[in-house]
Amino acid sequence: MPEINLRQMKKDQSGTISAIKVGGELGLRMREMGLVAGTRITIQGRAPLNDPVALRVMGGILTLRNNEADHITVFVEDKV
């Protein structure tokens, strides 16, 4: 499973978060919404201007800006 940045993930691609390298409020906000290492995510889609991105996480949908997604690395699954 290759490890890439969340920003590079494509629509409908899934993967498992490997690390979130940010502290402070942003880090906290991400974590309390369920974005922690080991969580499985799927890219739901992107906004018309390609930013922000919508993710499916733990049965809900979260949105993140691209520059916020930069802090997250993901082990992506090969598309079946």
Partner: protein
């Protein structure tokens, strides 16, 4: 569909001050007394729905509500037991980053409710339990309301509530908040848990952190550091999470101990960064989720379907947030909202207008002449009419917004628009306030400012609050239409569009300016939840719309009434001296006696078909009346204000009568037209009904195209109306921001108008 046997007694909305000042001791109360319960949970978990089901009232679903500073309280009776339920704001955690979290935490530790009902979305169990772990650490008596078990079931998620209850050590009641199913048992359990001792639960955070926490607890217990408020372990963990509010409280309590604790946190952080490349707060979060996962894996939750399955909501999103169709649909929805608001409200608005017209004419004929009559007509009836005439429009607007909000579409609008708004230092959620305030021309800044409550970040919210009044609201549109109609009649539509565009550009640039200066700071994270689409309930929409409309009527009604009476007084007093009045009367007498009694009688008749002599007499008398009115206006307090401002205002091309209208416009922008009308007809509007205000302005030597543009710019951007100012103070939480808004906008508008005028007259 069974309603719970809950009897609503009353619902009280409290205004909460942060931090809470009035500590109430509720310990040691016998069981026969009212039980105090608090309702807490994630936004969109169905908290408000449960609150409404239990207390019988309906306010609002979603993470909007009026809970930036307010919280709701309801009373109901359950099996002869009186229960008082507080609806706390929706939060994802108990770390004091947002107002909602501060309010929730302060309420819990200060008010010490006898039991907390933690509502959890069963279809999103793992994330919802994150907040639960923090309640466990705080130790408050807890009951879990496992909501939307039906939705979870549809999604193939099977949950074993008994097992969850055993593993968490707290009662769990599966419920469906919408129908009230299961709430009976929930309240039974909550009553059973109420009044128990607070018992903090320990969650392990790994070797390094656990050791540090033990050290810190030892110190905290020894020094009795904040132990009156928080359990020692809770304090230690919040220190490790760099919780600002906790750090501040600590410094106030005992700065020596606080310093040692902070030093300890720095040591641990450095160590963890070196050895594990992770922040302590990240490790804490990881362990909390680890704790949750370990519970769920022990047979609490089983997934029957593929997790990648698309649900109805996701399918709708495929279209509505599609990169091509999404924006098109959004434009249609927003345009539709306007169509609905303006076309549907047209008829009731005209009813109200004719009602107030009728009221005015009744007063005109029934009341004896004098100051009381003048005040009732010009002050009370016109003033109230101006505000109440808007009510149907505001109501439809609120209804439209409630539908968009309750259905979950508003969050999608924020998602799609965020990229554009971020350029100007705003947030995707700023879109709606801008549109409500008049982004498509017509709207109102009052509900616009109130709609900023959807913004969770204080700086973006403040920047939005301060710039939405720049939009062309429904009260400014008639003024703009009048001036464009008078001076640019050849290209009306184009100019109207141009000025709407200018308002957007200026508002966004002003927001950018504020975010670079007084509201400097990094963009707030856009980590936001897109709630699943839901059908709003009719009853919910109705109550919700009415609640907000009533707020508007109450606030606007009282304030505008006062202001319009004040304005009337300012334009009427002080009156001309008796000698001057007598002088005008004498002039009229002189003209009247110069003609034959027959013509005099003819001219004072109501008929339009009169002889030429009678007409000349009428005109002469009307001229004298006008002169008297102008003198009276000049002599009045408002006139003096206008004249005093004239030396400055001429820089932008405004003479004293325009000044009066602009000062009046501060009360309400609607007042500008009526005041201009009064000022430029020199009193008697009806005498000159044949030539409209627009025509009068075009022929007035003090007005021309350049002045018109300058006035348009000034009117669009100067101080928000008084009601908006009051609203800004309430929403921003400080009168300082209202004063800032008044002065910043006025200075800014004046500079812009001056620039337009000065450049305009030079290039002709």
């Amino acid at each position: 569909m069974r309603r719970p046997p809950a009897v609503m007694v009353a619902v009280v909305v409290h205004r909460q001050h942060v931090p809470l000042k009035n500590k109430q001791k509720r310990d040691n109360q016998p069981m026969t007394q009212t039980i105090h319960m608090a309702l807490a949970g994630n936004p969109n978990a169905g908290k408000t729905t449960l609150f409404n089901t239990l207390t019988g009232s309906r306010q609002h679903v979603g993470n909007y509500p009026g809970i930036t500073v307010d919280y709701k309280e309801g009373f109901f009776t359950h099996k002869n037991q009186e229960i008082n339920l507080t609806d706390l704001p929706g939060t994802y955690s108990l770390t004091a980053y947002s107002v909602e979290e501060v309010v929730t935490r302060d309420y819990l530790v200060n008010e010490k409710p006898q039991v907390v009902i933690n509502i959890i979305d069963a279809s999103n169990l793992e994330r919802n339990l994150y907040l639960t772990t923090q309640f466990l650490e705080l130790g408050c008596p807890l009951v879990i309301a496992l909501n939307m078990i039906d939705v979870a079931k549809d999604r193939g998620i099977a949950i074993n509530p008994e097992k969850l209850a055993v593993l968490l050590g707290v009662p769990v009641a599966p419920i469906i908040a919408r129908s009230g199913k299961g709430t009976d048992i929930l309240i039974d359990q909550a009553v059973g848990q109420s009044g128990q001792q607070w018992q903090p639960r320990d969650i392990s955070y790994g070797e390094d952190l656990d050791a540090a926490i033990m050290d810190m607890i030892a110190l905290i217990t020894e020094e009795k550091f904040l132990t009156g408020i928080y359990p020692p372990r809770f304090t230690a963990i919040k220190y490790l999470e760099h919780d600002d509010q906790m750090l501040k409280k600590g410094q106030q309590e005992n700065s020596l101990t606080a310093d040692i604790l902070e030093e300890k946190v720095t040591q641990v952080s450095d160590h963890l960064l070196k050895t594990m490349d992770a922040y302590p707060e990240a490790i804490i979060a990881d362990h909390r989720y680890g704790f949750i996962k370990s519970i769920l894996r022990q047979g609490v939750q089983t997934q029957n379907f593929d997790t990648d399955r698309l649900y109805t909501s996701d399918k709708i999103d495929k279209v509505l947030t599609n990169r091509l169709l999404g924006p098109v649909f959004m434009c249609l929805v927003l345009f539709g909202l306007y169509q609905l608001t303006f076309s549907w409200s047209e008829i009731p608005v005209s009813w109200l207008e004719s009602f107030f017209g009728w009221l005015g004419s009744q007063a005109e004929t029934l009341l004896p002449d004098g100051p009381v009559k003048s005040m009732l007509i010009s002050g009370v009836i016109h003033g109230m009419g101006g505000v109440l005439g808007f009510v149907p429009l505001i109501m439809f607007m609120f209804l439209g917004i409630a539908i968009l909000e309750d259905s979950g579409y508003l969050a999608r609008v924020a998602f799609m628009m965020d990229r554009i708004f971020r350029i100007f230092g705003l947030h995707g959620s700023s879109v709606m306030p801008f549109i409500i305030s008049g982004g498509i021309a017509g709207g109102c800044a009052v509900p616009g400012v109130m709609a900023t409550r959807t913004l969770r970040s204080p700086k973006e919210r403040l920047a939005t609050i301060l710039t939405v009044p720049f939009m062309n609201c429904g009260a400014k549109v008639p003024v703009i239409a009048l001036l464009i109609g008078a001076f640019f009649s050849e290209n009306k539509a184009m100019y109207m569009f141009l000025f709407t565009l200018i308002s957007w550009v200026v508002a966004l640039l002003a927001a950018k300016f504020l975010r670079l200066t007084v509201l400097k700071g990094p963009a707030t994270p856009f980590v936001m939840e897109l709630p699943p689409y839901r059908f709003p309930t009719l009853q919910g929409l109705a109550i919700h719309t009415w609640e907000r409309t009533w707020q508007y009527i109450k606030k606007a009604g009282t304030v505008i009434l006062g202001i319009s009476i004040l304005l009337w007084a300012m334009m009427s007093y002080p009156e001309l001296s008796a000698a001057r009045k007598a002088d005008f009367e004498q002039q009229r007498q002189l003209i009247s006696v110069a003609v034959s009694p027959a013509i005099l009688a003819e001219s004072s008749s109501k008929s339009d078909a009169v002889s030429e002599e009678a007409l000349t007499l009428r005109q002469k008398i009307s001229l004298i009346n006008r002169q008297e009115s102008e003198q009276a206006l000049r002599h009045s307090l408002a006139g003096k204000v206008g004249l005093t401002l004239e030396p400055i205002s001429t820089l932008a091309g405004f003479e004293w009568r325009t000044n009066i209208a602009l000062v009046g416009g501060f009360a309400a922008k609607e007042v500008i037209i009526s005041t201009l009308g009064t000022a430029y007809s020199m009193g008697d509007v009806k005498a000159d009904a044949s030539d409209s205000l627009g025509q009068r302005l075009t022929t007035d030597p003090n007005w021309n195209k350049v002045v018109a543009v300058s006035a348009l710019i000034f009117i669009m951007f100067y101080a928000p109306c008084f009601v908006t100012v009051v609203c800004i103070a309430k929403e921003a939480g400080h009168w300082g921001w209202s004063l800032f808004s008044i002065s910043f906008n006025t200075i800014f508008a004046f500079l812009l108008a001056t620039a337009v005028y000065q450049i305009g007259i030079r290039i002709g």
